[in-house]
Symmetry: C2
Subunit: 338 residues, 2 copies
């Protein structure tokens, strides 16, 4: 491992100049710069991130705290963030808080405070007041994705609007008996999301003059299996079966499609089904859905942090830009049976 000194010697300049040339901060003449670059390349020199961090106080490393790795939304956000960081020369250190409070507090009390990260991205985690405060005290920017954190810049789609759009799609097709599979409010890390989606559904119905029937709601856990069982309940009734189901996630919607099939129902002839996400499998199942773009959300989170960490000339944090979503109509929705 060549050190900065060797590079300086080979380039015929001081270590200070090498540092400036390589990091881009401070002015260096073009000729010095090219000499340094060449010398560094020749020696295969790479800065020691520790020495650099210690001296500068910046780590070029971002912490991502995330509750699941094996769910589409989460892995997509992670992928987006990782890619965006890699492009900017940043590392990503991962904290997967699948577990209990013990793991969680250890991450906050130990890991994040080790000065190993410049900033934190919290995905679908409702941080507590002290957790947020602690990070702020350390001067670490924090941005949330997917769960509202009070007092913190957070990227979330407008869940109410998304759910409303999905429901309105069904209403426009002529459906009136529309069931909803949503989250189990008791058991969710982030109870806002299912609640908001349910509200969007209810607003849409009311606006259309359709009464909200609590029997047309079934809770599930956002998985295919959960959606399957919930849909079985909803579709298994002997009378007044719903003609459509709006599921709060694509996975539950896919479970619903499978449940419908098992009950001998043809989708969309006998029942229409729509979800939210535009999951990898949505296209395969011909599922109509409202797409959100989690990868983009991960990338955007990085952009926001970068503007705080390395304020550019183009200034101005793009305030609360609303996140995009988009209705994708496929073959799981149609007019209700006559």
């Amino acid at each position: 491992m060549a050190g900065i000194e060797e590079v300086a010697q080979l380039a015929g300049v001081s270590t200070a100049t090498v540092s400036r040339a390589l990091s881009g901060r401070g002015h260096v003449s073009a000729s010095s710069k090219s000499k340094v670059l060449e010398a560094a390349a020749q020696l295969g020199y790479v800065v020691s991130s520790n020495a650099s961090s210690l001296a500068s106080g910046r780590t070029r490393n971002i912490g991502v705290v995330i509750p699941f790795l094996n769910r589409w939304f989460f892995s997509s956000v992670l992928e987006g963030a990782q890619g965006a960081l890699l492009r900017r020369g940043y590392d990503l250190t991962l904290y997967n808080l699948s577990g209990d409070g013990g793991e969680r507090s250890s991450v906050f009390e130990h890991f994040l405070l080790r000065q190993r990260v410049d900033a934190v991205i919290a995905v679908s985690l409702e941080l507590t007041e002290p957790e947020v405060t602690r990070l702020h005290e350390l001067g670490k920017p924090l941005v949330g994705v997917g769960g509202p954190i009070s007092g913190v810049r957070t990227l979330t789609i407008d869940d109410v609007a998304v759910a409303r759009l999905a429901t309105e799609h069904l209403l426009a097709l002529g459906h009136r008996r529309i069931a909803h599979i949503g989250g189990d409010v008791e058991n969710d890390l982030d109870f806002h999301l299912p609640t908001n989606r349910r509200h969007g559904y209810e607003y849409a119905l009311r606006d259309a003059g359709v009464e909200v029937d609590p029997r047309q709601f079934a809770p599930a856990d956002f998985t295919i299996r959960g959606g399957f069982h919930a849909a079985k309940q909803l579709l298994g009734v002997p009378h007044d079966r719903p003609t459509a189901i709006f599921a709060a996630s694509d996975e539950m919607a896919i479970g619903s499609i499978l449940a419908a099939r098992e009950l001998g129902l043809v989708v969309p002839r006998d029942v229409s089904i729509i979800g939210i996400d535009d999951h990898d499998l949505a296209d395969f199942f011909g599922l109509s859905t409202v797409a959100q773009f989690p990868r983009l959300q991960g990338e955007k989170a990085v952009e926001i942090l970068m503007e705080q960490l390395e304020p550019g000339p183009d200034a101005a944090v793009p305030a609360a830009t609303p996140l995009p979503f988009e209705l994708r109509v496929r073959s799981s929705t149609a007019t209700p049976p006559a």
Copy 2:
């Protein structure tokens, strides 16, 4: 942020003693230790990882290089590794090489050389000779999971044996016309895996005196969709339809189940289907499979590295322990139709 000096002062000892007490290396009297611990707790002191790393040469951080985040096997390995590291006080920095060679070389030439990691776990990546050499030169231990890297300790299930077991399960039930959905050798990052599984399948057939028929093979990309299309081909033939399908992954097996259903075939009455993995969804689909345990593989990779990084008294790297796998018979396999 309190520093080590303040802790030393409060505890009435030197910084060296604080360092020793907190890191556990070197002897410290019980009384000093408890004073230090208390002082540290009181001040909310946490070591600066950079300063510590710079001085000691150890980072307590492991790099994980992985090609996918959104596939069950990969996210499970990652989860296992993350958990095991967290428990030991290590961080995990993630390098997701979904992309082309550019990204890849940048990770190897830049990121991994920044001295930010003590060791590397490479998941299903065939590292090139120079990449391995480079890491070795730096004295960074390296362990592979899931793809054979020449000259490197690698954790992989015995793919031949696993495939053989799955196939033998079908043979034992009385099947003779057994199709196989495997990898597309052209397009795989790791072509060994599909090849080995195909070999296992063929060996099992031969040992049972069944001729291998190349028309009973269909390539796919390890996804549900891919398995669906491949199975359609295999099951759609008008004559001599296979009575069983062995898919090289559960996702492809699930695709096959869906394809069979669409063709009006009842599983397992008309066709038996078995996969490999024990994917999250396997149970839901009643899929018989050979379970591998990717989480465990991630954890084990960490253990191996730890023994190199912090050689314990219990010494001895547990050499090439074979990884466990296990036949799980559910409801997708049965005797062939009469």
